[in-house]
Symmetry: C2
Subunit: 381 residues, 2 copies
């Protein structure tokens, strides 16, 4: 390939923190980024060539994006696969990953069915269209079970734990739409693997341990504190997932390590993922650079790990929506090998992802505790 100036333009649907970190990774590669996001002055705006203000599913917006770009991709699952597909066809601008993949993943039931059909181990699940379906499924799978809206959920939204028969009616009412229910997994820990599919390569990043609370990711530990055998199994499962995905790009693959050492697939995100933010410092190639390499058909970079790494999210700790003012950042900036990543969101609210802190060291002992200490010194109050 030939590198030119201005370089190829990658149009990104979504300009949140993922778009911002894609922007940070684009310039060294000679790529220009253009994002579309409904929020004027979105997090990506200051570090990309331009933002088109518009909805993720608005045909005119996506067409403008496609016309001004050489490649299309998305950093948010809310992108409309039908519109993306049509716009790509009309403009000739390729979309990666394929809209078909997005369509599969947007519907959690379809996602699980396709993965299961491909031989990927998943928790037992059932489709749920009525409260009776839910009751029947729970009796088969056992209580508690996890009821999930088929579409639109993220960071635990759209998921409801059904503790017993008395919860069934309320849970079904609350989900208010097509759903699926899964057997609750008794897990030792949660793991994640970032996979990447290039033009004719497949690779995975080292297995990450993900620690959630209230279903929101708090910390990522890499390498995961799981046995070598479990980590190998996790990477194998991630490789099996490739068969379900079409098109190029990185995929976030969330897994359970069960108490008996099995790996079960939880969910997939067809884009860079929070559990891979640590790769910016922790690997020779970050998930963001890797995604851009893949989308533009360049060779993939090395996914080897540089050193043990923990990253921890900076979440909103306020009860009311208010202008974002973070106190305590000096302690992060003053700590050797700690790296601040601020997303530039104008307002903070409870549990909103506002940034993250990554800490590296030559060994993993104490790293998680140190990273938590750093994060706990930060507040928006």
């Amino acid at each position: 390939m030939t590198l030119t100036s201005p370089g190829p333009t990658v149009g990104v649907v979504g300009g949140g923190q993922l778009g911002r970190m894609l922007g940070e990774a684009a310039a060294p590669l000679g790529l220009e980024l253009l994002v579309t996001d409904p929020t004027p002055d979105c997090p990506a705006a200051p570090v990309v060539r331009d933002q088109i203000v518009g909805d993720f599913d608005e045909a005119a917006t996506l067409r403008e994006l496609a016309e001004r770009a050489d490649y299309l991709t998305f950093e948010i699952e809310l992108a409309d696969p039908d519109v993306l597909e049509r716009v790509a066809e009309e403009t000739g601008t390729p979309v990666h990953p394929a809209p078909e993949t997005l369509r599969t993943i947007q519907d959690k039931l379809v996602q699980k069915r396709r993965l299961s059909d491909a031989g990927v181990p998943v928790p037992e699940f059932r489709a749920v269209d009525t409260a009776d379906d839910l009751r029947e499924a729970c009796e088969e799978l056992g209580y508690p079970a996890m009821l999930k809206a088929r579409t639109g959920g993220y960071d635990g939204r759209g998921n409801i734990r059904v503790e017993g028969p008395e919860d069934v009616a309320d849970a079904f009412d609350e989900i208010a739409g097509p759903a699926m229910v899964e057997a609750m997994v008794d897990f030792e820990r949660e793991l994640a693997v970032m996979g990447c599919r290039g033009a004719d390569e497949r690779d995975t990043f080292p297995v990450t341990e993900t620690i959630h609370r209230e279903e929101i990711l708090r910390e990522s530990v890499a390498p995961a504190r799981a046995s070598r055998a479990v980590r190998e199994r996790a990477r194998d499962v991630a490789h099996d997932v490739f068969d379900v995905m079409e098109g190029r790009g990185v995929f976030g693959i969330e897994l359970f390590e069960t108490t008996d050492g099995e790996i079960l697939l939880n969910e997939i995100a067809p884009r860079p993922h929070n559990s891979g933010h640590w790769t910016i410092e922790g690997c020779h190639t970050s998930q963001f650079e890797q995604h851009l390499r893949a989308v533009t058909g360049q060779p993939l970079g090395s996914t080897d790990q540089r050193f043990p790494t923990v990253s921890t999210n900076i979440l909103g700790d306020v009860s009311e929506r208010q202008p974002a003012e973070l106190r305590g950042e000096d302690s992060v900036l003053g700590t050797p090998r700690a790296h601040l990543h601020w997303y530039g969101k104008l307002e903070v609210y409870g549990l909103r992802k506002m940034g993250h802190v990554t800490l590296t060291d030559d060994d993993r002992d104490g790293l998680l505790a140190d990273a938590r200490d750093l994060r706990d010194g930060l507040t928006f109050e």
Copy 2:
């Protein structure tokens, strides 16, 4: 300090590759960058909030920059210190490093006198106002000697080697202005140290070996292949240089290691420097992040080295000015631990700095040869 959105804005005089790499470093810290550069669509433009098109010494341009920024800095010595000083005073926006430092450095004779007065070892030098001055100085210092224009030179421009008495008249005519002459240094190798002065900290990055040809930097090797004692002496000299500099920021300090193991200061750049580009991958904090931390008064980051690192410049290899089209980048992208940095310049000409490639490894053996091989596979022809 409190981190807000939008974050503090740093106004940068100059939007070349240094401005571009400052832009890449700014977003994670929550800083916004605004640059001014006379070339529309300068290298920094795609990765910063905005570019003000205007000359480096134009008062109206710098005033607009100062009015829209919380801090001012510069990535090019052509910034006018008088205008910067006046604008800073009028708008209350602080400039780092201090314009006084820029003034000192812009005049190579003043620079050398101040450094010498501060006890920094420098090659013997004399002021040259007439051809007779030059002849007399050369007789004292010995032939060959290096005649240097006091102002305006860079990358070897403005430097003329005076081989013998027969060259004196022509050399003086060619320089056409106030000059100085230096004893030619018999050096073992050239070294560089990036120094950084924060709000109340001083630190230096590991000593780099710099390899020039035709007075243009080709490769940087870190750590330098010099003895530990020499490297320590180089860092000590860099610390002495701090006493001559006012204000905060990083400084590129170019040194000679003489054949008898002494360190002599060659030149200073009051800004991030080509010899420090390797720090992006090679150190826990890059020179660009460090500069932004310093300018905004944040704690400095760790300057510890991650692993042995070599960077090599991608220079124009064409004889005529033409649109920039680089062939061979795939081999760089396909090499594990090689990192491409493209500057986004629209046109290439002979020896123009178009980008650089950084290669890291766990030991230094073979790294320079491998980096050269990678670079030699790139061409604009």
